[in-house]
Symmetry: none
Subunit: 230 residues, 4 copies
DNA sequence: TATGAATGAGCATTCATTCAT
DNA sequence: TATGAATGAATGCTCATTCAT
């Protein structure tokens, strides 16, 4: 029954394609409007599916968003891992990480933003919390494993790059985890700077700037040698 | 009509006191629940005013939030200016800025978060409004002058501290504006890191870490002297 | 401030009148359509309030229904208690109970029906159960105290009438609770007979019929004396 | 075309078997969840047919329910007829009727419930339909012949048992139809008593109780003889 | 024939804002 | 001035039914 199988396959393909299509469309709407502003009607209209159909593919609005975020993160993880594996100097790798992350943040704007910034919302989305009317007692709520794993993997990759630098003698013998934290903060913070008026640096310029400071800091070398640096 | 004037004055006083009271209460609620989760009913209940009265004092929910943010920022501005004026070494001043901003972010959580993170929302709040269904083309939308001024003032203060450092020969002769950008990014990014698992550093530890990296970077001094640093 | 007080009072009056009005309207709609078929839009349209206004007065659709039922039952309870207190023969009292309950059932049709007949629904309405998708494990769920109290009071009243009959020697020395059960069953069952084709007896005729059977059964007196009856 | 005929026959057999299977499954679900709570998805899942297939066999959800009820009633009818035909005393027959009906009600709970209790629903199911928003004027709406016939048959059977009793001199010379009405009411009403707290009588005890009252009423024999009974 | 996919029409509930007093 | 009352416009989600293959 090759015929039957093929048909079945094609159908399954269509299903997964539809899912993918919905996710992509939803992503772009979420990115444009943010989570709350995006309605199921929006997604329905833009996908040209009926709302009911959306609910065939996903259990809820937050499910859709949840998956959008997951995909987004997985994308970042695998790209960063690629960067780490290339045969390049540590410095080049870091530069590439910055370049990639800056464009990534820029293009995923509202998506990443929500993940980094709206804990209350995230908790709701992640179904950690349901009770709408009860005050949440802070951040004790844990984030789903899937997400944590990816975030850890991303940090791990960056940490490894830094460790390489330390081992090669390029970097000081710092705690690589701390260094990773600082590095990520720099990137994240630089991106979420939309408020300040457009200094509008290109990605390239931004990368240079950030890398520069991350590498050599702001002290003069004289000062620097005086002992703070071992 | 002295009598009239007095009454009028008393009146005005009361009005401005009420406004202040509402703003303070609202701030605490916004801080607790975030913007969208906070309803006018919440504010009404907690201020013990009627919703209609709130609308006597403010034109809309976003107006309230708008002013809350403004106040919040003004607070930061004046504190940072105080720090700058003290008779301390540049390094100490930077350390104090970090300390202050970290606690500030921590305590104003939801408030600052929205400002940095929900552009769509901010646009709505700021009344830079827009037909709802048309895609926004990014940051071209300008932020109200009030805000811009404060943000500029804050940046200016930090920039000045850095300039001091440059003039005293402690810092390299970098572009102080860029340095300020990097410094702020570091702070902001470090704060919005709630996602990653709790490295739970104290404010003091965090300050040390950030300052360390900002000052001397990650390169070894040897590498450092080799020429990258002039 | 007599004036103020009066106004306040008038307003409170209006509030409670509105509540009452909504309840009455809702009752008639529930009675016509049943619980599920009745939508908040129906109630809104027929009361000429907006849906939002309904939610000012009641927390939910089920709350409205809940109160409708409660009122309905209270009405019955107090009327039955009046009947019991009158100076009449036991038989007359029972006849009056039948008369009243038959008209009561007839006029409250769908309301009482739901109470007696849709446990699953009632549980939902009574908020005993929330989880929509989990199978309920039967009737173990208890009914709210308010309701139980009223039902008990009603049974109690009927039981007392029967006890009077026993004490006066008119009735056999039966267990009055059992007799009450039988009596109520007879009434209830007679009413919920709408399905069978219209025997359309008047209330009066029905009362006579039911009372007759309840009083003397169907056996011939001869048979009757043979010992079954002590 | 013997071949064709056989195939056709097999086909028809399968069809009717499938119908039967669906009906049985549906009955158990209806019984568990009630009419409205039962979705076509439920039935589809439990029969392992697709929803579309269900619609090949039945025109609508209400059609399915309709037939379920019909079957249920036919079952009762034939069992009652069996009871009537047995060689037993009238009293025994009545006792058996009670026993059977009580277990029957108990096991068909939600099914019979709807039939007796949700007129609006039944009307919809029976397609006696109606413009939704117009008040229904009660019971004028007729029930489909099928149902009426069965209900009549059931009543007829009970009536006949009672007639036997009258003819044998065991029962008073009452109108057997009225007696049947009273008898059925007693049963039905006794069952739909879920509200009151669990007197939890067994079927046997219940049967004794009901029969007792139906047979000899509540008056003392003295009172009884005084003339009310001829 | 059998079915996976698609959908339209609904529905309870929420909330910022306005209005009459 | 202050406010209780009123509301329009949304919004996420459900389900019986149809259709294309």
């Amino acid at each position: 029954m090759v015929k039957k199988d093929l048909r079945r396959e094609r159908e399954l393909l269509r299903v997964s394609e539809n899912r993918k299509f919905i996710l992509e469309t939803a992503e772009s709407i979420f990115a444009r409007k943010g989570y709350r502003q995006t309605t199921m009607d929006d997604i329905a209209e833009e996908t040209q599916f009926s709302k009911a159909t959306l609910y065939r593919y996903f259990r809820s609005k937050s499910d859709i968003f949840s998956e959008v975020i997951l995909n987004t993160f997985q994308e970042a993880r695998s790209e960063l891992q690629k960067i780490q594996k290339r045969q390049n100097s540590t410095e080049t790798k870091l530069r590439e990480v910055i370049r990639y992350m800056l464009s990534y943040y820029r293009c995923k704007e509202n998506i990443t933003r929500i993940f980094f910034v709206e804990p209350t919302l995230m908790q709701k989305i992640m179904k950690i919390d349901i009770s709408d009317h009860v005050a949440l007692s802070g951040k004790e709520q844990t984030i789903p494993k899937d997400y944590v794993e990816i975030v850890i993997a991303i940090r791990q990759t960056i940490t490894e790059i830094i460790e390489e630098g330390i081992n090669s003698g390029d970097f000081r013998a710092v705690d690589p985890h701390e260094a990773c934290t600082v590095f990520s903060s720099l990137l994240r913070g630089y991106h979420f700077q939309w408020t300040t008026i457009n200094d509008d640096y290109s990605v390239e310029e931004s990368a240079k700037l950030l890398l520069d400071y991350f590498l050599i800091g702001i002290l003069t070398s004289k000062k620097c040698e005086k002992g703070e640096r071992i």
